[in-house]
Amino acid sequence: MSTAEKLVQMGIAIALFFGVVAVVLFLADRVRSRRGESLQTLVFVLPAVLLIAVGLLYPAIRTLYESFLNAGSTQFVGLDNYQAIATNDSLVKVLRNTAIWVIITPIAATLIGLVYAVLVDRARFEKTAKALVFMPMAISLVGASLIWKFVYDYRAAENDQIGLANQVLKWLGMDTYRFLLNEPWNTLFLIVIMIWVQAGFAMTILSASIRAIPDDVVEAARLDGVTGIRMFRYITVPMIRPSLIVVLTTISITTLKVFDIVRTATGGRFGTSVLAYEFYVQSFRSFNFGLGAALAVLLFALVTPIVLYNIRQMRRLEAR
């Protein structure tokens, strides 16, 4: 089918849609009774429900179903795929790595963002300082990974270095180090990339909510003789607690879904693969759709509680 034909078909579909909607709305409008009202509500709600069903519900159920099938989705294999995830050495390593990512990244990124936000708050060079930390946010994760891949690049000590990190080690008179290869530390060096990107996000949100702390609270605390670390511990942190949680959970969700960094920097080799990446590899490289689906379901199960918690916290934040 050529592009022109497709466009014509699209035109017809849109015209058809307007026609149908006009008729439906007209008819719904004609029914004037209690039942008519619920009918009108239905007409308004149905499209959204339909879309969610087609775009979200159906794929989710389908994925869940496929996770109980074999590689080519032709045979029912029960819980075999889940069993493989729990017993296969390399897949267990994937779970371990995902756990390391989810524990370290949100805490480190939030902590760095928070400390930075407090330190530069109302300082003379605040805008420049904030821009510096915020800038990595503007870079895509793939771009960031490429940059850091060069930073980590390894050459033996006697050769000329092209990686910044190893050149620094060389200047310090130390041996060069394989940042991306040596297990399990390589995962930590990948996490550094994520923190570099996410700290700016944490800093921005937290900085705004620090600003939002009412002056009278700060003043009252100051009159009571609270300063420095204690001000931070007893006033700042409790006052911005809801934002802190939102930042933590948002970064957790991003981290659970981390794909770009692992793929770009190591391709999942050297024991650095994580859930979101492994699910892609199994589905679209190995064409083992069953195992891929099982990994996706697991990822979904892990993300859901955090998302729910996040939504509840955001509601609370809005209600304030």
Binding site: M1, S2, Q9, M10, A13, I14, L16, F17, V20, V21, F44, P47, A48, L50, L51, V54, G55, A71, G72, S90, D153, Y154, R155, A156, N159, T176, R178, L180, L181, R263, T264, T266, G267, G268, R269, F270, Y280, V281, F284, R285, S286, F287, N288
Partner: protein, 459 residues
């Protein structure tokens, strides 16, 4: 007001989606028979168009080609289609993507298949045929062309379960060792003709303080593939083509003793700290060196030998003379066992169709002909392309390495075998094989690595 607008937008989307689903459901049926659009072909009487006139007048029609070949190599491809357009009137819409392998299956399953795809792995063709059932058989003219211009083995790689689907397109030779003719001449080194000679030469070079070999297997999420080529090349030499075929088809276990021995032979080079990794560091640095960078230290004299396919020619920096008397050239990776003849490991692409419209069939016919092979060679002024098409005139190839590749492919003594990892199931060939070879380089023991691959073979 806001809710009304949102609702309308989402409802539009719903209708469009339904329409799209309905449209995509109208697929095409099986091919095999030649179809004609009727009318007088614009190529009637023109030279080179003989095979294409039977499809009739295709003016205004478009063939959508999806490939993994991207800029700058795609230009020569597009240029080589000009004759097709002159002959038939149909245009070719070319789309190259680095995400080809992953995207193609998704697109085909989603009902959005291209007309033609250049598939670089027989294993992927098998997956497409068996898991989607959307690959269409080519017209008889293609099958006849392949019988005439290609070896039997090449036709076999485009065949799934005894049905022929895809004609070979380009090819490459993997059994090459790159070296610097200048460096060899300066030092009085000679090109080795047996494996033992090559090891003796390696020792000789190592004694001068240079690490003789350089290698790199890093390649994004395909990291590990260059090491699989090493192993395949050595299995062909040690155990012979028959054993190799059995190993590829999993008729003998992946961790058979013969395979263990061959991998150990590879290890004598790649895991020998005296031999590797010139210009980069120690053995482990092979894992993090990209395959594109791996051979470059040859130009600085920091390394002397680099085993890589003919397509490595594209990676030498501008100004490098790639010729027998130049800065870089390749020799045939020597054999270990005379009984096994002259094995050649290689790769290539295959033309699979997802539609049997006349213009698609015409294009398939064109690509499988000797006319196209020579047209492509003439349109590749920079070199870096060959085909296993026997009708390809070696003189039409410009670069010496391409000529060497074509001669190697057309050599009647050569025992050609396709890259094994490309034929294995994806879980192995694009999964555990790459992964375990990487682990092997970074320290895993030979037997343990091969055992792990054997275990991952889908039952």
């Amino acid at each position: 007001m806001r809710s009304l607008k949102t609702r309308r937008v989402s409802a539009t989307a719903a209708v469009l989606l339904t329409a799209a689903l309905a449209l995509s459901a109208c697929g095409s049926d099986d091919g095999g028979e030649t179809k004609s659009a009727g009318g007088t072909s614009p190529g009637e009487g023109k030279a080179g168009c003989e095979q294409l006139t039977q499809f009739g007048d295709l003016t205004g029609k478009t063939v959508h080609v999806y490939t993994s070949i991207v800029a700058p190599e795609d230009k020569a491809h597009k240029d080589s289609y000009k004759l097709f357009t002159e002959c038939t009137g149909a245009d070719v819409e070319y789309e190259g993507s680095k995400e080809f392998e992953a995207q193609l299956v998704v697109r085909v399953q989603g009902g959005n298949a291209p007309d033609i795809a250049y598939i670089p792995q027989p294993g992927l063709l098998k997956t497409l045929v068996e898991q989607t059932g959307k690959v269409v058989e080519p017209p008889d003219a293609v099958s006849e062309n392949v019988d005439k211009w290609f070896g039997e083995d090449w036709k076999k790689y485009g065949t799934v379960n005894d049905t022929f689907y895809a004609a070979p397109l380009g090819a490459n030779v993997k059994s090459f060792v790159w070296y610097s003719p200048k460096m060899f001449a300066d030092n009085g080194w000679e090109i080795p003709t047996t494996w033992d000679d090559m090891m003796a030469l390696s020792d000789k070079i190592a004694a001068t303080g240079i690490k003789p070999w350089c290698a790199g297997i890093s390649s994004g999420d395909a990291t590990g593939w260059p090491a699989t080529d090493w192993l395949e090349d050595v299995i062909l030499r040690d155990a012979g083509a028959e054993t190799y075929d059995k190993w590829v088809d999993h008729e003998i276990p992946f961790n058979d003793q013969q395979i263990v021995d061959s991998l150990d032979r590879v290890g004598n080079i790649l895991k020998n700290p005296k031999y590797v990794n010139g210009g980069f560091g120690d053995v482990k640095s092979i894992a993090t060196t990209t395959f594109q960078d791996a051979g470059l230290p040859i130009l600085d004299g920091k390394c002397a030998l680099h085993r890589q396919a003919s397509f490595y020619a594209a990676n030498w920096p501008e100004g490098t003379k790639v010729a027998e008397d130049g800065d870089a050239f390749a020799f045939y990776l020597p054999t270990t066992n005379e009984d096994n003849g002259k094995p050649v490991l290689g790769g290539g692409e295959f033309v699979a169709a997802f539609s049997d419209d006349p213009e698609v069939q015409a294009f398939q016919t064109y690509l499988s002909s000797d006319v196209w092979a020579n047209e492509k060679a003439k349109n590749t002024p920079g070199g870096g392309w060959v085909s296993a098409n026997k009708g390809l005139d070696v003189n039409n190839l410009v670069s010496p390495i391409d000529q060497l590749s074509a001669e190697t492919l057309q050599d009647p003594d050569a025992v050609f075998r396709f890259d094994g990892s490309d034929q294995m199931p994806g879980a192995v060939g694009a999964g555990s094989f790459w992964e375990q070879m990487t682990a092997w380089i970074t320290g895993k023991d030979t037997k343990a690595a091969l055992d792990a691959i054997e275990e991952s073979w889908p039952s």
